[in-house]
Amino acid sequence: MGLTVRGPALVAHDGFSARYDLDRIKGVFSRPAHKLAGQSYVGRILVLDTAKGGVATAWMLHEMQSRGIVPLAIVLNSVNPILAQGAALGDVPMLAGFDVDITAAVPNGAEVEVNPQMSLLTVVQAKP
């Protein structure tokens, strides 16, 4: 869902929920137990395991997009309806459902291209 984008990947085998995991004002992961705690998600292509938590992400991606404090794209092994609904409203490119564990296949910090229309993620440069 969404347009093709290219940018740095922020990778962890952990879940994603905008309400549970983020300080959306500062643009960082704020949940202490999250593997990306303290790291900025702004302008990054998030590569995570699965959608977690509640329904608020459906609104929050739209709100984050309006302020420019938003991930460049979201890539997940497993998505739930809320992430898809939020990506649809917020115009955040999203890709999910791979043959491999995508969090193991993409190196953290790699330059990647996400093409949702082709259901394709390309590692452009493993270590920029």
Binding site: G15, R19, R31, V55, A58, W59, E63, I82, G86, A88
Partner: protein, 412 residues
């Protein structure tokens, strides 16, 4: 997606731009999940607190509400999840005028769209529980998991924009838990005990949610004795949904689709055993301090029975730290009428209505009031509030009330 004549007319704009925009959104989501067509729904429930919407979301709603031609109002009963405040208690929460103004704008827009402002996440206890096989478009994960599992209704997690779209079109894409084949179990959970407290049910739900791990997992739980009460299953499901993004579980011999194990589980499913020690460990993992700044009962909103129990625990006590109990606008008048509110307030507590703690600018409340160490009997709430800067702790209702008196939470 296959569209019928009515849907083609909506998409062509013959019903006006509001339902047209709603259907476009639904098609985008439906095609993402390979939905073949739409299914009519009987009711919708919208999660739309203003902390989630922000200025951008409220403006988006106001844009819909300002459309002057075509059909602008919802077609089916469409109700709301808790608001971002209880206007009568906004000062207690340290909320700003700007937050309240945004909230009022959102309410005005929803009302122009024909949405009924019920402001509750326990509509299955207070408004109208869905029936078996009833297709609905519910927001709030706790509402969805209870409706799917306990009532046998059929809903996906519908975020605010999608639930509103369902209200405006009277349908939703047919995917996920609208499909019988996706309602069958994907893992078996065997428990060797039955929780007795609400926090105990929540902790067990949390352990199962973590284990099951994603939205498409359907746990089939065996070993629960007796007939759990609605409030117990409310906490069990809300926590499972929160920890695992789970939307449906079955309790063998108890929930409507799982009269027998074979009704919902094929041979060869993975089997996991969960003990009381596992649930106790989850609870203890949150006990990171002994001091408490605030006690909160919320998430989900409290039923009249929970408030009755709380009032009983408050009698003759005097709190040294704030205690907040949050309920729905439907329950609050009865809570007042039965005298429960007065008994809770006599001890120094407060009963709030129409909001839920984590949906009410929890980070700003913490900063305004200096509340960090929070005791609650809601496993869902402890799972959420860490990201908002709190140190949430899970304990029984009795232990939480004691903590409100002493300012300390006793370790168990």
């Amino acid at each position: 997606m296959k569209l019928n004549d009515e849907e083609n007319e909506i998409l062509a704009g013959k019903a006006g731009p509001v339902p047209q925009q709603a259907l476009r959104h639904q098609i985008k989501v439906g095609e993402f999940f390979d939905a073949e067509d739409f299914v009519p729904v009987t009711q919708a429930h919208i999660m739309a607190d203003t902390e989630s919407l922000g200025e951008a979301g409220v403006r988006w709603l106001e844009g819909l509400a300002a459309v002057s031609h075509g059909q602008r109002r919802v077609r089916i009963p469409t109700i709301t999840d808790p608001r971002g405040t209880d206007f009568a208690n906004a000062k207690l929460l340290g909320q700003t005028q700007a937050m309240l103004d945004l909230e009022r704008r959102a309410i005005a827009a929803f009302e122009q769209l024909g949405v009924a402002m019920t402001n509750t996440c326990i509509n299955y206890q207070t408004i109208q529980a869905p029936t078996r096989n009833e297709h609905a478009a519910f927001g709030d994960t706790g509402v969805v998991i209870y409706s799917n599992s306990i009532c046998g209704a059929r809903s996906n997690f519908e975020g605010g924009p999608s639930a509103l779209a369902a209200g405006l079109t009277g349908r939703t894409p047919r995917y996920g838990f609208h499909l019988p084949e996706l309602r069958r179990g994907t893992l078996r959970i065997q428990v060797d005990y039955t929780p007795t407290t609400l926090n105990g049910w929540g902790a067990l739900g949390g352990v199962i949610g973590r284990l099951a791990g994603n939205y498409w997992a359907v746990p089939v739980v065996e070993g629960i004795d007796g007939a759990p009460k609605s409030d117990q299953l409310k906490h069990f499901g809300a926590s499972m949904a929160s920890f695992g993004s789970i939307a449906l579980f079955h309790l063998v011999g108890l929930t409507p689709e799982a009269g027998r194990l074979a009704d919902v589980a094929d041979d060869g499913l993975p089997v996991h055993r969960i003990t009381k020690a596992d649930a106790d460990a989850l609870q203890q993992s949150y006990h990171t301090d002994d001091q408490v700044d605030v006690v909160v009962f919320s998430a989900p909103q409290l039923s009249l029975y929970e408030l009755s129990d709380l009032a009983g625990l408050c009698d003759g006590r005097r709190f040294s730290v704030p205690l907040l109990a949050v309920t729905s606008p439907q329950v609050k008048p009865d809570c007042d009428r039965m005298g429960y509110t007065a008994r809770i307030e006599a001890a120094g507590g407060n009963v709030l209505s129409g909001m839920c703690f984590y949906q009410s600018y929890a980070r700003e409340i913490s900063e305004a009031r200096g509340w960090k160490r929070l005791a609650t009997n809601s496993a869902k709430l402890v799972n959420i509030l860490g990201g908002y800067g709190y140190r949430p702790m899970l304990a029984s209702m009795e232990a939480c009330v004691d903590a409100a008196v002493n300012g300390k939470l006793v370790r168990t």
